[in-house]
């Protein structure tokens, strides 16, 4: 599908950092910090889908939560339409929330079991005091039909437990778009869904992007989903973005050794396919007070002595908008 990506930037993230204090008992001063998101910068253009991939615990979800201000950034800036939202408070923060929404991973947990579908979808409208009751009802019905829950009247006053997983995720999406946001953080919205209904939900999100010009940050650990959905893709490792670029370019021609290993692990439905074995040593470490050197140093198959001395490599353009954070990649 050819998508006309406009060139103006919607979201710009600059040197974003989030450290979590690691507590060791109630009265001891905090000495250690978990570097969940460490100096991350990227941009998302209007109507673009940026995929954020990586294994568990690499800081994908924290990045998403920072972008919707569910977490307070420790350092750095997040610009939405040129306004720094990292330090918004009070009324401005509430107003900002109209523009940004989040879709959660587990549709079984992201809907209040004691609220009807109507109440759930209308909640953002009610909280933001938009429209009167009749208008809200019409808006909710409209949103439900947009996400493919038709006829909306038969869904309005049902409870979440009366719906299937796919239907619930559609409700969650309807809720997210009810405020007409410019930007949505989707935190693995399909990973809890049955494979047979996954594509339906993904297609719906693509349609919404075209219809309402919504940009997404699509967090996933599934590279095939990322390939299907995303215009560009960023790969994270222990709080750092190690590689970023056009989806096809990253997937066909990964530069960073971690990205190469990650992509070689994607199963190919071909019994005769001989996978290129990329050896990486050990397992993922914990990003608690990490060394200043490259995060991937301990496991890196291509490390040279220079890597031991230099700080973590910067994310550099290695040609054609394909960024990688490695000294050994030219």
């Amino acid at each position: 599908m050819v998508v006309d990506i406009q060139t103006d930037t919607l979201v710009k993230v600059e040197r974003l950092k989030k450290l979590f204090p690691v507590s060791r008992g109630m009265f001891r001063a905090v000495k250690n910090y978990l570097h969940a998101v460490d100096d991350v910068s990227f941009e998302i253009k209007k109507g673009e889908i940026l995929g954020l991939a990586g294994e568990s615990g690499c800081g994908k979800t924290t990045t998403g939560k920072l972008l919707v201000r569910l977490e307070e950034p420790t350092e750095g800036h997040i610009f939405l339409n040129g306004v720094d939202i990292a330090t918004l408070e009070g009324r401005d923060l509430k107003k900002f929330r109209r523009n940004v929404q989040m879709i959660f991973q587990d549709p079984y947990e992201s809907l209040n079991p004691r609220m009807t579908i109507y109440d759930t979808v209308a909640e953002p409208l009610a909280v933001q005091r938009i429209g009167n009751i009749v208008e809200r009802q019409e808006r909710v019905a409209e949103m439900l039909s947009v996400v493919g829950l038709t006829p909306p009247e038969s869904f309005l006053f049902r409870f979440p437990h009366e719906l299937s997983g796919g239907q619930r995720q559609r409700v969650a999406i309807a809720r997210a778009i009810a405020l007409n946001p410019a930007f949505i953080v989707a935190d693995e919205p399909t990973s809890m869904l049955d494979v047979s209904i996954r594509t339906g939900v993904m297609k719906l999100m693509m349609e919404l992007r075209e219809k309402f010009e919504i940009s997404y940050l699509y967090i996933t650990h599934d590279l095939s989903v990322a390939r299907y959905m995303c215009d560009r893709i960023a790969i994270m490792y222990l709080g750092k973005i190690v590689e970023m670029g056009e989806t096809e370019e990253v997937i066909q021609n990964p530069l960073h050794p971690y990205a190469r290993a990650l992509l070689s692990a994607v199963p190919i439905p071909d019994p005769n396919y001989k996978r290129e074995a990329i050896e990486i040593k050990g397992g993922v470490g914990k990003p608690i007070d990490p060394n200043p050197q490259c995060r991937f140093l301990d496991r890196c198959p291509v490390a040279v002595p220079h890597c031991e001395e230099a700080p973590h490599p910067p994310l550099e353009d290695k040609g054609g908008g394909h960024y990688a954070a490695c000294y050994e990649v030219k």
């Binding site: 929404q101 587990d106 209040n112 004691r114 909640e123 019905a141």
Partner: protein, 322 residues
């Protein structure tokens, strides 16, 4: 076109319908619990029992004879000839006999029922109201607020409530209202906060709380529309258990004569006690002085407990048989 009409039904009517539906399913579960309906039947019995009293007073019963506090009935000549005097055993005129002061026991029993109901339910309501609010708040905010209320709960739980009430009765005028409020408030800051807080904690981490935050919901909005409604079933359950405690506490205080109250079940037992009918074989010989009141206390307490267990079955899916 039927579907289109559903949409423009007024919201309150839809909600009423939904409520009725959920009530119906809950009622089914409650009925299946078997012990719940037994408790409810006993409560209903006492409800009617208490409601009948003013009715009887205004129609059949003469106030001079049957008033639970000031009434007096002279023994009949036949009874006097037998050497019988107050307390008189049950007769057709006094179905449960009279007390040592010549007052009708049945009338006292019926009159007290209302007070017991009021005290039990009101105290439990105060307890649950405070407990739910504090539990939800300390779970949601955590940190210092949480620590403060939890340590307070520990202190209150260690607190000898009855001893405190005995001391308190010497200092303030302890009538039905003040007692209900005191029991309610002390209970509300006690163990129930810990239970409801732990329940609220499981709600707090649910993504729908985060979804509400992302939409711009204030702390108040999240606590009132998400946390409290999800804790409420458990609160209601604990309310039932608290009724029992309140009624029992009142009975004990009345028995010690520490309540500024005209008539209650505890006071009826005290009456039997101070007149010397609770010693030796007098307990069996003058059974009507002691058994009706003490049985009523036990029965009503049991009834609320049983209803609580029935509700437990609705609230706690693990207890369900199906």
């Amino acid at each position: 076109m039927e579907a289109a009409q559903v949409r423009y039904q007024p919201l309150w009517r839809v909600r009423l319908g939904l409520m009725r539906k959920s009530l119906a399913t809950n009622w089914e579960l409650f009925r299946d619990s078997k012990i719940g309906p037994i408790g409810l039947a006993i409560i209903l019995f006492f409800g009617i029992f208490g409601a009948l009293h003013p009715l009887l007073m205004s129609t059949v019963w003469d106030a001079a004879i049957y008033d639970p506090v000031t009434g007096y009935d002279f023994p009949t000549d036949a009874q006097l000839k037998q050497g019988l005097t107050h307390p008189l055993p049950p007769s057709t005129k006094h179905l449960l006999g009279t007390d040592p002061w010549g007052r009708d026991i049945l009338s006292q029993l019926m009159y007290s029922t209302r007070a017991e109901f009021f005290l039990g339910v009101f105290a439990a309501f105060v307890t649950v109201f405070i407990g739910t609010l504090i539990g939800a708040i300390s779970a949601y905010y955590g940190g210092f607020t949480d620590t403060f209320f939890m340590r307070l709960a520990d202190v209150v739980m260690l607190f000898p409530l009855l001893a405190f009430l005995i001391v308190l009765s010497a200092m303030i005028n302890l009538n039905l209202y003040t007692l209900a409020i005191v029991i309610g408030v002390i209970g509300g800051f006690g163990g129930i906060t810990v239970v409801l807080k732990s329940q609220a904690l499981t709600i707090k981490v649910k993504p729908y709380i985060e979804a509400a935050k992302v939409s711009g919901g204030s702390h108040l909005h999240i606590i009132t529309t998400h946390i409290i409604p999800n804790v409420l079933p458990l609160s209601f359950l604990y309310m039932m258990f608290n009724v029992t405690g309140a009624i029992f506490t009142e009975a004990v205080l009345s028995f010690f004569g520490l309540m500024n109250i005209q008539m209650s079940w505890g006071l009826m037992v005290e009456m039997a006690n101070i007149s010397g009918y609770l010693v030796g074989d007098a307990v069996t010989k003058y059974w009507w002085l002691f058994w009706p009141a003490s049985l009523s206390i036990s029965l009503l307490c049991t009834a609320f407990y049983l209803v609580g267990r029935g509700i437990d079955e609705i609230v706690n899916p693990r207890l369900r048989k199906r």
